[in-house]
């Protein structure tokens, strides 16, 4: 068994473990209030460990520089992908409408009528929340009751998602608007 290769290959998994642990440290010990700072804090330490382990194991195995760089990039990308999955798992608690509905239904033993659910979580409420959140975060501009877009992170994400949707599903986000 090549022990150094084990560390070289397993670096992203250990990086994810450190990401989760440091996220918990940021949450319970340091006490960052902002959720995204906590996630970033975890991701930073996870990335550092992944890179450190990769470089250490590569040097112990005597890999040439080119191969070391390839392993570092590959492991960095693998950790990024793992962290993205982890981020989505955590983020779902904040943004999933299904989860919100599941919480409501859990508390209502006799169930909830569809019309009542729509009153509680209708499009009007969701649109208001999103417009407020996007304006607050500087993702769109709000002036005199009118909203306009600006070059922002969410705008770039929406363009990327729209392109992916077009490739995979053969339709665009705006096609949903046309149906009306």
């Amino acid at each position: 068994m090549d022990a150094w290769k084990f560390w070289l290959v397993a670096a992203p998994t250990f990086g994810l473990a450190v990401d989760v642990v440091m996220h918990l440290v940021a949450t319970w010990i340091i006490g960052f209030r902002n959720l995204y700072y906590r996630l970033l804090f975890g991701a930073f330490w996870g990335g550092l460990l992944t890179l450190g382990l990769t470089l250490w194991a590569a040097s112990e195995r005597g890999l040439p520089l080119g191969e070391t760089v390839v392993y570092a990039l590959f492991n960095g990308f693998t950790l990024l992908v793992l962290s993205f999955g982890y981020f989505n798992l955590v983020q779902m608690n904040l943004s999933s409408l299904r989860l919100r509905i599941a919480n409501e239904l859990d508390e209502a033993a006799e169930g909830i009528a569809p019309e009542r659910l729509l009153e509680m979580y209708g499009a009007h409420q969701i649109v208001d929340e999103r417009l407020a959140r996007l304006s607050r975060g500087g993702q769109i501009e709000s002036r005199d009751g009118r909203y306009s877009y600006r070059l922002s992170t969410v705008y770039l994400i929406s363009v990327a998602m729209d392109t992916t949707k077009r490739i995979v599903l053969g339709r665009r986000i705006r096609d949903s608007f046309r149906r009306k």
Binding site: G85, N93, R98, A113, S148, S158, S176
Partner: protein, 169 residues
């Protein structure tokens, strides 16, 4: 090194296969089907890399190459499933941002957004998908959580408590 090239190439091939499948005939339960497909592509990749003449003995030199391949494939498969879920059902934030950006430099009002993004677009499809996934059921004209829905809620409630998250949605 060959295992890295193979892992990247195999996942790319899996994505191309998935796009062709979806463009020809989209499955009813897309997320579940996509997950099963990606998980099935893992042993398929191990067989191809391990036994196909020309690749056998070159792609997987030892057990750690197999681990590298499996780790990369699973990580990418799970992350891609998250992305796929977001394109399958446009998130409210993306729908709102796209509508606002379509309005051009003069912008739009809240009423314009609400006229285009109504319950039929944003809420009812999610409720239907939630029923299809077996998380909730319609009994005597009222939605109720199924046992699967309760488990789903419990998992995320635990995550919420562990990470001190507010209740969102």
């Amino acid at each position: 090194m060959p295992s890295i090239v193979f892992a990247v190439g195999w996942f790319s091939l899996a994505i191309v296969g998935h796009i062709v499948w979806w463009r020809v005939r989209r499955p009813r339960r897309m997320t579940a089907t996509l997950l099963k497909y990606q998980l099935a592509m893992l042993p398929a990749g191990l067989l191809v890399g391990g036994f196909v003449p020309g690749l056998a003995g070159r792609v997987f030199g030892d057990i750690w190459d197999v681990c590298l391949f499996a780790q990369f494939h699973l990580a990418c498969a799970l992350a891609y499933t998250c992305i796929h879920q977001a394109i399958q059902e446009d998130s409210p934030a993306l729908l709102t941002m796209t509508f606002v950006s379509q309005a051009g430099p003069e912008g739009c009002t809240r009423d314009d957004v609400l006229a285009a993004l109504d319950d039929d677009l944003m809420i009812r499809p999610r409720m239907r998908d939630f029923v299809t996934a077996g998380m909730i059921e319609l009994v005597d004209g009222r939605y109720r959580l199924t046992e699967g829905g309760r488990k789903f809620r419990r998992v995320f409630e635990t995550i919420r408590i562990v990470f001190r998250l507010p209740r969102g949605g």
